[in-house]
Amino acid sequence: MQFTQTPPPPLHELTSFPSNINPMNKNQMLRTRQWPGFQTSKSLGSFGDANCMEQLLVHCANAIENNDATLAQQILWVLNNIAPSDGDSNQRLACGFLRALIARAARKGTCKILTGAVDNVHITTHKFSIIELTGFVDLTPWHRFGFTAANATILDAVEGYSIIHIIDFSLTHCMQIPTLIDAIANRLEGPPLVKLTVAGATEDVPPMLDLSYEELGMKLVNFARSRNIILEFRVIPSTSSNGFASFIEQLKVQNLVPANNGIEALVINCHMMLHYIPEETLNPFSFNNTSVSSLRTMFLKAIRSLDPTIVVLVDEDADFTSNNLVCRLRAAFNYLWIPYDTVDTFLPHGSKQRQWYEADMNWKIENVIAEEGVERVERLEPKSRWVQRMRHAGFRGGLFGEEAVMEVKNMLDEHAAGWGLKREEEDLVLTWKGHNVVFATAWIPS
């Protein structure tokens, strides 16, 4: 047996057994089974354990993928004991991954119903009311950063237009809009007519809303009216899984898109939604990538064809697109520790909101780890890749003005000390303890 550490895959070997059993020598008889150890970890403080957890999760993933029931069982047993769902942030993070791995193992093979075997195997995510969601997104800069940066830049871009048409591709169900309407009402001569068009449903991915977009729209219209703004609200049902193709088509068919005539500004606001559109790795067998564009590429081309006044693209800065489970696991583990780490700073232990928050995180983890194919919707790409895509689609980066930067900084001051702001070329990046969390980019047609 080798109990020494080995680098990741393949982790263990079974000495192959000869098919005619000859008198065996000792080496053949003592079948080796390697228990994977770790790279000798330097003491990294609280990250030492996290590193070990990650290694164990990686080994477990490998064991599951290789159908090594013995090793997978052993590691799952260990993880079950060292990653309680109510432990510290590292433990809760590992617990989320553990559940995802169990879910993945359950989808393979002859698994039967896991009744009560692991607590909360089936993740039920909370359906937020408007009030709850509003309060929720305000708790941390995770979304506020993108809102603030985007709104500031949008305001600059739409100055002088009498009609503002906002197309909102947003994960947070128009939570950005009230602040924007407020700002429009306060700052712009006008008041301009505001059109708001949204795509999609309220229940696809967390955070999920407990009312329909139609109902949401009415509330927004009323809110706008209270600010003396006339708001036209429109929903075009569409889905990210086909790159919002029907949405774009409808826009054109219904003549909703203005000619670039200086009167109507077209704002396309993308807030953590575009990463749900399938990209190239979903079809790894397309022979010639240039001739078969991914839905993501096609979507960007389509919005370019609308000739927008400004496009804002905000998303999470990580790469979840690898087809290799272990790569994805590492990427996810090395990014999603952040929400578990931050939650201690804004939600008390055991609070209901914390449960909702972490349930949503667990949903994401399970999607990345346990799902494959079209079901795996969490396809984050890092900022560099998105920048490349936008440039390729015919956009060039707009600068975030000093005012935008100031506003973001002021916003960050309202939150815990670990949050920070970074400028990377033309873009803004939200950081937690120095690690990139969310990026914000602004684009105009080139």
């Binding site: 005619n20 070990c52 159908n67 093979g109 002859t110 698994c111």
Partner: protein
Amino acid sequence: MKRDHSAGGSSSITGDMYSTGKSKMKWNEAEQDDELLAVLGYKVKSSDMADVAEKLQHLEQAMGQQEVSQLGSETVHYNPSDLNSWLNSMIDEFNPIQSDDMFAQSSSKIVFDDSDNYDLKAIPGNAVLSNNKRLKTESCTSSWDVPVSQSPSLSQTQSVQVLVDSQENGVRLVHSLMACAEAVQESNFKLAEVLVKQVGVLAVSQIGAMKKVATYFAEALARKIYRLYPQSRKDLGFNEMLEMHFYETCPYLKFAHFTANQAILEAFAGKKMVHVIDFSMKEGMQWPALMQALALRAGGPPTFRLTGIGPPSNDNTDHLQEVGWKLAQFAETIHVKFEYRGFVANSLADLNANMLDLREGETVAVNSMFELHQLLARPGAIEKVMSVVAQMKPEIVTVGEQEANHNGPVFLDRFTESLHYYSTLFDSLESCGGGVDGAAAVSPQDKVMSEVFLGKQICNLVACEGVDRIERHESLTHWRDRFNLAGFEPVHLGSNAFKQASMLLALFAGGDGYRVEEHEGCLMLGWHSRPLITTSAWKLSG
């Protein structure tokens, strides 16, 4: 039985024997070898098994010249337990020639056909056996292959099933086994001999678990009848290798390990110095997972001492030390302070608490996986061991044992119990990981080795007596009584252990029939409704 056919005078069987026409062995107690039992790895006196075999072939041949339907209406089943005379009567029906002459004349035609299908060729002789793709192991093989299933004279192989329905054969098989065991109990060895051969014939028509179980039990009975007892502890390394395969193939040992580890982990909560005394060290498979869990537990790992106890290796290596060394290397990679000591002992009863260097302030766990029942072979041994364990003042004692009563005073009862037990066990093996639907693929070698592993237990249980019979399984009720007597009380294994066991089985067991049950704080793993393995935990009462 016919024993009046002359045969060649040599004492070993080779292919040559057959090619020169000497198909039958003279029943000469001192000299001749029974070719079939030779398959089992030792030379025995000849039997008239070959007689029966040839007669059946004759019968098939004769029948082949007739319509099957005719056969169905005309066949009269005589007393099937007297297979020989029944066959003779059948043959007489078809062929008016005197059976004796027939055999003497036609034996040369039939017996040394060079067709590869002819099973008698498969009987050793090394030269012959190597042609055969059947698995050969150092000890008894599992197949009691009677050369009746293929007849060289027919273009396609026709099995005995033409004659009798195989399901009926299954029932007959069990009855024959039981009848044989009863005969053995009554020391009626002549009858037992007949019956055990009948079992062999009937087993051929079975498939799967039934066939294997019957074969092993028949072999064990044969050993008892012919007084060819297996040597216990013949090859330690071999036994451990078999156990490794069994460990990989099905969940039983894994279940026992991780339920015990759960109890130990919980007992070690908050303790800074821990010491595990393992009565069943073997390859140390149980410990990496526990050490890993201790390494990453809240508050950091304890210092971990492991004392491994095992029997002496029969080669020159110090196996216990090797295992310990590997665990030490592992401990280093996970940053656990580790200390190991190996103790070689022929029996656990040789141990005394003062040998173990138990230190002040350390928390002790004693672990025994399928070892305690062996002590029941010697009077006083289990009591000694339990009192020594009590002297160690353990925080917890974890025990894994077979859930069965195979140690009763009446042989027939033991036989019956174990027949049911191992039938269930073999049934579950059949379902283990065919690699279907992405389930863990178990290699055929693993499975076969697992069967050999269990076969050895069966052999010991049935064929041995006295101090040699070490597979003296007893159920939880009995163990509970013993532990209570020795001053221990149960530690409930808890819902955490139960849930984990259920989950891990659901994910990986590879078979649909496994069940985890909880009985008064102990956990049992079984197949369908039959518990097979029990893990329990104990501490000193008071």
